[in-house]
């Protein structure tokens, strides 16, 4: 009976971690470029008291075995990369990706990180950087006398100069991964590549399955409030049911221990 105590404890802890994940999703309902996480549960190892198909006598096989499991564990979380709602901001350097792909950002130590958060700003030298000051790659520098900046859906950046001429500053690139779910979340709306995600492949926005860039929009989070609330209720009830089980197991133990008075 002590086994059931620990089995139910794994159940309670798993529901607690499930709620932790739901809370993180709900907390990030308004985070630009946020992708919600989904948890996956797995049952734990089973004790093999009798193996199915084992021989019980000469030529007589047992049809089903005797296996008692040991509980549950959370074996993975998966980021769900569905498109978030586009929010119009009308800011010249806010960009939303419609479709697949990530912006490539270079950190101060030279490492490459990736994001869906397209809220860029100009730094002191006119270079496009994230709100944390990290540079967009490939670097785009807006001349200080530019009156208007236009970014096309294919990522081409055109500026209008005071003389009335239009100058092309280059084209933004997006990056695709074979398995975006395998990216490591670093926080600060940033992702890092791992062996599981595959190497980044650079693409032109709008071509070969890479998403398009929309200037003046931001991609909101893809958290669905209703789904998360329903999951929260499920987690809470599962937690309660497990704790009732623990109480029952404890009462049975108490009865067993007090057989001899």
């Amino acid at each position: 009976m002590i086994k059931s105590l620990f089995t139910l404890a794994t159940g309670m802890k798993a529901q607690q971690t499930y709620l932790d994940n739901i809370s993180n999703n709900l907390a990030n309902i308004n985070t630009t470029g946020f992708k919600r996480s989904q948890v996956n549960f797995q049952d734990l190892l089973y004790s093999n008291d009798t193996k199915a198909g084992a021989e019980s006598g000469a030529g007589v096989e047992i049809p089903t075995g005797l296996q008692i499991g040991s509980g549950v564990r959370l074996n993975s979380t998966t980021k769900v990369f569905t498109q978030g709602t586009a929010i119009r901001t009308n800011s010249s350097f806010d960009m939303a990706i419609q479709g697949d792909g990530f912006f490539q950002i270079t950190k101060s130590d030279g490492s490459q990180v990736f994001t869906r958060d397209g809220s860029f700003r100009l730094n002191g030298t006119g270079q496009l950087v994230t709100t944390d000051g990290l540079a967009l790659t490939p670097a785009i520098t807006i001349p200080s006398d530019a009156t208007n900046v236009t970014i096309g859906t294919d990522g081409t950046v055109n500026v209008t100069l005071p003389a009335g001429t239009i100058s092309n500053l280059g084209q933004l690139q997006l990056v695709k991964f074979v398995n975006p779910g395998g990216l490591e979340s670093l926080g600060r709306n940033l992702f890092r590549e791992t062996v599981a995600s595959g190497s980044p492949t650079i693409g032109i926005p709008g071509e070969q399955g890479v998403g398009e860039i929309f200037q003046g929009f931001l991609e909101g989070s893809n958290v669905e409030t209703v789904t998360e609330l329903v999951n929260m209720i499920t987690a809470q009830r599962a937690f309660e049911v497990n704790s009732r089980g623990i109480r029952a197991a404890d009462q049975m133990l108490q009865a067993a221990a007090s057989i001899v008075r």
Binding site: I2, L5, Q16, L253, A256, A257
Partner: protein, 237 residues
Amino acid sequence: MIVGLYTSATGKMAMAKNLEVISRNLANVNTTGFKRNVAVFRTFLENDPSVPGASLARVEINHSQGSIKGTGNKLDLAIYGNGYFALDTGDGMRYSRNGHFRLNGDMEIVNDVGWKLEGESGVIKLPRNAKDVMINDEGAVMVDGVRISKINIVDFANKEVLKEAGNSSFRTNPNNRVDIAEGYVVQQGFLETSNVSVIDEMVNMMSNMRTFQANNSVSRTINGTLEKLIRTAYTVI
């Protein structure tokens, strides 16, 4: 039969010790940087199987990550990943995950009991007219935009060498190697809460209590049998 009495007594003592560990963990559910203790039991004398019973082998410290809570204070720091803050007590070094710091009269970064936080070049001291302190992911300390030091986050190859020293801190033998930690992130404005899992402790406590009761039943049974034996022997004479 008397051996059985002593065996069940060792069982009860082991459960009592376990309860001490569990109570201490539960008492520290809200202590910043506390690392829960786990009691490890073994059979009474490992090299003498003829002496039965259980005893406490050691109390281990579980160094898993605790949850992080935000406080917004500039000098509250939380470490994600491996590593400990190195604190100079003036009478030896202590290592802790408790990142609640303040400034003392000399503008040095100290913890609640005045132990000084160690940086790359000794104790970290802020200039008198410092207005804003920023501590980045690696623990570098920036005052008004100027980098003045970096917090030493240290780690140990074998965490078994850390012994509890009070105030959520650990001490180790000065001969033990202290390495610079890798793969950590320092978050300013956050604190690491204790890593005690209330569910685990409650379930352990239940299992503990029932085991104690079972051992108690053994004691009572032996007691009853002994009593009958003595009474019968008495009436015979």
